[in-house]
């Protein structure tokens, strides 16, 4: 692990070693390492004079501009902040205000979202796609054009430098920004490159939006190895086998729900992905039958499960599946395995004391991959990253146990956080939005339907609202991104409350179960 690791170093070294190798393919746009480095250096030179806070917003995804923007920000010594294209305009304005960005980089989709309102509150320096692939032009250019000096290597950074800030759902009704240091990323990359022989002939798929930190794995392991990264469009995700075969993809990391989706769309037949050699899944529980289906479709690949919250940098425990796979039998999912070399994991009770093997408790994590905390939320940071026996730990909120062989197993959540199609969602954030949209205090969201305990959708309940379900839904869309808006909103007269007078989410889930049972009986 290098403590002063600029996350663009791996890319820079590969560009020196393999200038003519392909580095990035996004639709019809193809970049060699030399092309990509030139584009990164130019954008970095234009960005650098603007850096004060160091934070650069990336309003882009699944595009060459997103990749160049991230590398150029790192190259210039900045911190990149992905901003979801799916955020309602009001949320985006809030983020601009909180983040105090020095610059904003947009791709064509991001540029389309820049209404006069948003542009007025965005940073002065906005870089949008130029005329040729890899080129950017500054919007609202003022003064005379200058030719800023191009730095031939990534900037020197301090050992505590923040590489990126990923926003994730927050229980207070507002997302929280996880600040991840470059040294934490370096520790992650060391672990992965130690286990997997990512090489210059590999061809990797970018399966994720840049607001998911799995994208950090896909970009940085690929470019560190001198390999090529192929960006998938959302529709490509439904038929991964087709994309994998078209581009001879060799390495893969995605959320497990991609497997379920592909099976549903009929595109994951036996032996259909022979080019794959490394397949990794992360971000949600990996069902054993999904791991097996993928393994049969990719007979030449190893299939492994990696686990970890954004707060501990992409992933920090690993369970191999192809060789010596371990199952968490009570849930029919692949176990989460052992911690990464620089990570410590333990199960703690409510008093943060370690419990005995086999006893369930909260999964706690420590070590070099821990994030620095939540952006401008010191109290929440202190709560979730407590000091135990003089060491800083992160409390995941995940319930789990360690078996007699030291293998960790995931049992679910201690709180109301869910994973829905790969998105991490705090149900309280939806509750807050629902209360506002329905203009009532009695409003709550539950995960439904559930398939083997895994959420497949959302249902909202409200009581005492003077608005109808359609109006509530429309108002909610202005508050929350689409994946957090319940598909169905029920108005009920009798909101169930628990002994503490709080809304009883479990009672609502039982109500939905009973309704489903009645439907099954009736049919």
């Amino acid at each position: 692990m290098i403590s002063n690791y600029n996350i663009a170093y791996g890319f820079h070294e590969s560009a020196s070693r393999y200038p003519t190798h392909e580095a990035l393919v996004a639709g019809a746009e193809r970049f060699t390492y030399r092309d990509l480095e030139t584009a990164v250096q130019r954008l970095s030179a234009a960005l650098a004079p603007n850096l004060t806070s160091g934070r650069v917003g990336i309003l882009a995804t699944r595009s060459s501009q997103a990749c160049i923007g991230i590398l150029a920000t790192a190259w210039a010594g900045g911190t990149y902040v992905p901003i979801s294209l799916k955020l309602p305009a009001g949320r985006m304005l809030e983020l601009f205000d909180i983040l105090d960005l020095d610059a904003l980089i947009v791709d064509p989709a991001g540029q389309k979202l820049l209404t006069p309102d948003l542009e007025a509150r965005a940073p002065a320096a906005i870089f949008a796609p130029g005329d040729a692939p890899g080129e950017f032009k500054r919007l609202r250019e003022t003064g005379t054009a200058s030719n800023p000096a191009v730095a031939s290597a990534p900037a020197q950074i301090d050992s505590d430098h923040t590489a990126y800030i990923e926003f994730t759902s927050g229980t207070t009704g507002r997302p929280k920004g996880v600040m991840v240091s470059t040294s934490a990323v370096s520790a992650y990359l060391d672990a992965m490159h130690g286990w997997y022989d990512f090489g210059a002939t590999d061809r990797a798929a970018e399966t994720c939006d840049i607001t998911f930190d799995l994208s950090v794995h896909n970009m940085l392991t690929t470019w560190k190895a001198g390999a090529a990264l192929f960006i998938m469009r959302p529709l490509d995700m439904l038929a991964p086998a087709r994309f994998i075969n078209n581009h001879n993809i060799t390495t893969w990391l995605s959320v497990p729900s991609v497997v379920a989706m592909a099976r549903k769309a009929g595109g994951l037949s036996r032996g259909s992905m022979p080019s794959l050699r490394i397949s990794l899944f992360c971000g949600e529980p990996l069902p054993v039958d999904a791991a097996n289906a993928w393994q049969q479709a990719a007979p030449n690949s190893i299939v492994d499960n990696i686990y970890g919250p954004t707060e501990v940098t992409i992933a920090c425990l690993r369970q191999t599946w192809t060789s010596n796979g371990r199952e968490t039998e009570s849930r029919g999912i692949v176990a989460i395995g052992h911690p990464y070399p620089s990570v410590k994991a333990r199960i703690v009770d409510a008093d943060l004391q370690p419990v005995q093997d086999g006893v369930s408790g909260e999964i706690a994590l420590a070590g070099a991959q821990l994030a620095d905390g939540y952006f401008r939320q010191p109290e929440l940071t202190a709560e979730r990253f407590p000091s135990i026996d003089g060491e800083r730990w992160y409390l995941t909120g995940d319930r789990g146990f360690m078996d007699a062989d030291g293998v960790f197993h995931h049992l679910g959540r201690l709180d109301n956080q869910i994973k829905l199609h790969g998105h991490r969602i705090e149900l309280e954030e939806i509750d807050a939005g629902l209360r506002e949209a329905a203009n009532t205090d009695l409003a709550v969201a539950v995960a439904w339907p559930l398939n083997n305990g895994i959420a497949e959708g959302l249902v909202g309940f409200c009581s005492g609202s003077n608005r109808d379900a359609l109006e509530i839904s429309n108002r909610l869309r202005a508050i929350l991104p689409p994946h957090m808006v319940p598909a169905r909103i029920d108005q009920i007269d009798d909101m169930p409350l628990n002994a503490n007078g709080k809304i009883d989410r479990n009672a609502l889930t039982r109500r939905l179960e009973a309704e489903q049972l009645n439907l099954e009986v009736a049919s």
Partner: protein, 83 residues
């Protein structure tokens, strides 16, 4: 638009847009999925409709899933299937 079935597909997609709180109208060459107007669950539903109502074989190696992003593309797909 030439496929006799395209109006059915148009209605299905309009229904999905309305269910997601959007306007029912969309252009024939407008991106539906890559643009983020509709999510992957809607895409699966469109695929299921193509399979169950029009007999498109989703497992056919020649079937290109990325070619359903606009109504025009779906029309071409239905025409190719009919011929």
């Amino acid at each position: 638009m030439i496929s006799p079935h395209i109006d059915t597909v148009r209605e299905t997609i309009a229904g999905m847009l309305v269910a997601r709180g959007q306007e029912a109208h969309f252009g024939e060459d407008e991106s539906l999925f890559d643009s983020g107007r509709l999510d992957s669950i809607a895409a699966v539903d469109v695929l299921m409709t193509l399979e169950s109502q029009f007999g498109i074989d989703l497992s056919d190696p020649d079937f290109d899933i990325s070619r359903i992003d606009t109504l025009q593309e779906i029309d071409r797909l239905l025409m190719a299937h009919a011929s």
